[in-house]
């Protein structure tokens, strides 16, 4: 690799976020802060039953209420469908507690809530199924007429028509097992379906202008993807404009906001007025996106030197009542397994099953975290049998230059990235792995009932180069620059980083550059931040656009500076000069006069690079109470080149929240198996980590140039939640000296594993 000039003006420098001033003064306009004329409030009446047919629905009383503008039921709803199997926006059948029964638009929230209570619904209650295994059994309750066994097809999604990988099958597993020194067989589950819970609830405002124009103000990070999702739902005739703004957290989930957007759109279509729908926290926790549930049963073969010779088994993914992206998550998860485990012989067969609970979908970690949380513990059983150090085995097995993997589109990619071993070694050194690792199921230290254990996990994702990005860079005749991009800000600082990258290419002061709002009416296609693609893909397009604009500007300037070759020129701070004679110079404004220059940049998908993060955790288990305290986390990665040190730190510290490490300790969505109700749909009962219980986090970040774009950088943020949960399971098992198999490792589970019953401590007796 050629050496990189490290002489950057902006890249790698800690700088204030472009939107910082607005954020700290409360001026940042999130969706609920926008003002609209004649705005109506939309509300959703939801099913109290997990599975039922609506026999009769009477809205007459509610319609008479003053201030109610529209009520939509399955009888009057537009025939909009989405997902797999394609579900109607409002259906006669409800399939989970919280499924939509009616939509109401009213002048105020109070009136809409009152109207909800006046709608009379008669249900024919049907038996329901909540367990993924039960749902697959012969004779199980069927959620759909045409989905036998509640099993969803793999390999395609209805939006893109793309083909997705459906399995990991390669080599000869029997041969692999024959070559193994140890073979283990077992099962692990990561099926506590945690919720990423963005602080800002899912929401949308829609204005439908008859006959076929709709504008949606959205709260997410993927405006162009919204358009792509909604287009087939509304039909080609409908002109869709999506306007994005500041997004108060997503962690992937809000990319799947099509239902809330359709509710607002349907109500606006019915009333002719703009309608805002904002989910309550109860709705977000009970009716919005959860992680897919994972159950892996597999056989693993391993040699004495840690070589994995074969992996074979079944991966069951529970998706709830329908799927929008689970097929793709399985495809990515399979590829990520191959990235983390260099093995020649695979036979892992996934399947997706529907049950009567709320849907799973996109959450950062996207399939790979789910599979990894079960696969790494399985590998660990083999390592234990061979007395191998998990750090060494995970390091050895992570993809190396020259290796390859099947990615989500079922195509093979030769990996052309860096060897992450050095970052892992640095992480282990910082953590003190060698000193703390005492062997399998051995605590690092014991003091009374306090047992300390350590664990390690790893994750990598080739979606760093997924999908498409485009940008325009417009140089105006006042010497200022506008980046035209469909990117919205959801917390990574990506919009600031785009401006930084363009400023670096054009060597302009930052304040000379602005960026358009993410609005599909004015911006080119942008897939949006996902899978850590911001650094490679989104910046890649912006860099190309800036290069293109610069070239066009130089082509105009060249004759003015007496050359016919634009490559003879250089620029900084709005001045262009001849490289060979810097005295020959000209101001941009003089070059442009009354002209605008526009450069275009495009990024096309590239799956031949992967990021990598290894997380080391140290925790303390109290064997008396079963409580786990997370003491320390060391995250190790190599990002090629840091773009934004503060933003990077924030993303890496994000390893705890948004259904990350804490989903192994206390985070879970608790579904009552008798009623199908989610029992913890509020921020008291759904546990989250507070600032009073922060572990020490150290982030080890290396900068080995990666062959991405001119800054040699690769994104990492999305995966920071992913290596931690399995590391926690390992650490807790080591601390107590027995294998734990379930997430989260609650006090009850610890005590049960230790053979200490909690029962006598529960309740009271006379």
């Amino acid at each position: 690799m050629k050496s990189v000039a490290e002489n950057y003006r902006y890249i790698g420098k800690a700088m204030p976020r472009m939107d910082g001033q607005e954020i700290v003064t409360g001026k940042t306009a999130f969706l609920d802060d926008l003002k609209f004329h004649n705005l109506l409030i939309g509300k959703v009446l939801r099913s109290p039953h997990p599975h039922a047919m609506i026999k009769r629905i009477d809205t007459s009383k509610a319609e008479q209420l003053k201030g109610v503008k529209a009520i939509i039921t399955h009888e009057t709803a537009p025939d909009w469908k989405g997902g797999l199997p394609p579900i109607r926006l409002l259906d006669r059948k409800v399939r989970y507690v919280g499924d939509v029964v009616a939509l109401i638009a009213a002048e105020t929230e109070r009136i809409a809530d009152q109207a909800k209570r006046l709608i009379n619904v008669e249900y024919e209650i049907l038996p329901a199924v909540f367990d993924d295994y039960e749902a697959m059994k012969p004779g199980a309750i069927q959620l759909y007429d045409d989905l036998p066994g509640n099993i969803l097809p793999l390999g395609s999604d209805e939006i893109s028509g793309a083909t997705w990988a459906t399995e990991i099958v390669t080599g000869d597993v029997e041969k692999g097992f024959a070559e193994a020194d140890a073979i283990i067989e077992g099962g692990f589950a990561y099926d506590n379906i945690p919720n990423p819970i963005s602080i800002e609830s899912p929401a949308a405002v829609a204005l439908w202008e008859e006959p076929d124009k709709v504008t949606l103000w959205v709260s997410n990070h993927k405006v162009w993807n919204n358009k792509r999702l909604l287009s087939p739902i509304f039909g080609d005739k409908v002109q869709i404009r999506i306007i994005g703004g500041a997004c108060g957290g997503s962690y992937g989930a809000k990319a799947m906001s099509w239902q809330v957007q359709c509710y607002a759109a349907a109500l606006s279509k019915a009333t002719g007025q703009p309608v805002k729908v904002i989910f309550s926290k109860e709705e977000q926790l009970g009716c919005f996106i959860l992680r897919p549930a994972t159950r892996l049963n597999a056989k693993v073969g391993m040699q004495k030197d840690g070589t994995v010779t074969a992996v074979a088994g079944s991966w069951l993914v529970g998706t709830g009542y329908y799927s929008r992206t689970t097929q793709i998550q399985i495809a990515v998860g399979c590829g990520e397994a191959m990235i983390a485990v260099r093995c020649n012989n695979w036979n892992v067969k996934p399947s997706i099953v529907c049950t009567n609970r709320n849907a799973s979908g996109i959450v950062r970690g996207f399939g790979g975290q789910e599979l990894k949380c079960a696969l790494i513990p399985l590998l660990s059983l083999a390592m234990e049998k061979l007395s191998l150090d998990p750090f060494e085995v995970l390091k050895k097995n992570f993809v190396k230059p020259g290796d390859g993997y099947f990615w989500r589109n079922a195509a093979w990619y030769n990996y052309r990235g860096i060897d992450y071993s050095r970052a892992m070694d640095e992480g282990a050194k910082t953590f003190g792995w060698k000193e703390k690792w005492k062997g399998w199921l051995k605590p690092t230290a014991v003091e009374g009932t306090k047992h300390i254990g350590v664990g390690v996990g790893v994750h990598g994702n080739a979606d760093v180069g997924e999908d498409m990005s485009e940008a325009y860079v417009r140089i105006d005749n006042d010497g200022r620059v506008v980046v035209i991009s469909g990117l919205t800000e959801h917390g990574t600082g990506q919009r600031s980083n785009v401006v930084k990258a363009v400023a670096e290419v054009l060597q302009l002061p930052l304040e000379f550059i602005s960026i358009t709002p993410g609005d599909t009416l004015v911006t080119p296609v942008e897939w949006g931040p996902a899978g850590s693609r911001g650094t490679y893909a989104i910046l890649g397009a912006a860099i190309s656009a800036a290069d293109d604009a610069k070239k066009k500007l130089f082509q105009l300037a060249a004759p003015m500076l007496g050359t016919d070759n634009f490559e003879d020129l250089e620029t900084a701070d709005g001045i262009i000069w001849l490289k060979s004679d810097p005295e020959k110079r000209i101001d941009w404004k003089k070059v442009l006069k009354f002209r605008t220059v526009i450069g275009h940049g495009r990024f096309d998908e590239d799956f031949s690079l992967s990021n990598c993060m290894m997380s080391f955790v140290e925790l303390q288990v109290d064997t008396e109470t079963g409580k786990i305290d997370l003491l320390r986390v060391v995250n190790a990665t190599d990002v090629g080149k840091v773009i934004d040190p503060h933003g990077l730190e924030g993303q890496l510290n994000g390893c705890l929240g948004s259904a990350g490490i804490d989903s192994a300790i206390f985070e879970e969505t608790i579904l009552d198996p008798t009623t199908g109700c989610i029992l913890n749909t509020n921020l008291i009962d759904y546990k989250w980590r507070t600032s009073a219980e922060l572990p020490v986090i150290e982030n080890v970040v290396l900068e080995t140039p990666i062959d991405s774009h001119r800054f040699h950088a690769l994104g990492i943020g999305e995966i920071s939640t992913s290596p931690g949960p399995s590391a926690v399971l390992m650490a807790a098992s080591n601390a107590i000296g027995q294998w734990l198999h379930e997430y989260p490792v609650t006090p009850e589970r610890v005590l049960k594993t230790l053979g200490k019953s909690m029962e006598k401590k529960q309740g009271g007796s006379l």
Partner: protein, 178 residues
Amino acid sequence: MTRQEKKFSGSALEGKHHINLTVNGQLYELAIGTGAGKVNPSDTLSFTLRETLGLTGTKVSCDSGACGGCTVIMDGRAVLSCMLLSIECDEKEITTIEGLKNPKTGELDPLQQSFIDHTAFQCGFCTPGMIMSSKALLNDNPSPTEEEVKEALSGNFCRCISHYQIVRAVMAVSGKGK
């Protein structure tokens, strides 16, 4: 007596037709009742601030007192504005995120500047609540320890996990108030 007034009989608001709120130094006399610009007896303080006074810097997330997103300062203390009825706030002095800037110079409060300097936010939705909770702490205790900062912010939900940078931002101005 109207029905509405009867509701307040026996309370401090008996016979009152309006409440006085001082928000960011400005006095608002708000009529009690229904309709635009009025305070309905069931309106929360966060609703009045956002919808009636247009101060949307105060964010509402859980709307049930669990996340700290709507924190404002009332008579010097951090309070959850989603858990207070506006009519209970009669004669109270309230500071919201919009009121932290120096009104004369327009300069940011050092705490706000420190949040920018440390990039003590990611999505930024919890930030106004975090800043108001921190400000209330610093008003009460100008030199808090790191542990005291963590404790004071333990009711503020941040899902991006910006806590580490937030604690650093608050500590950077801790002691400066002395």
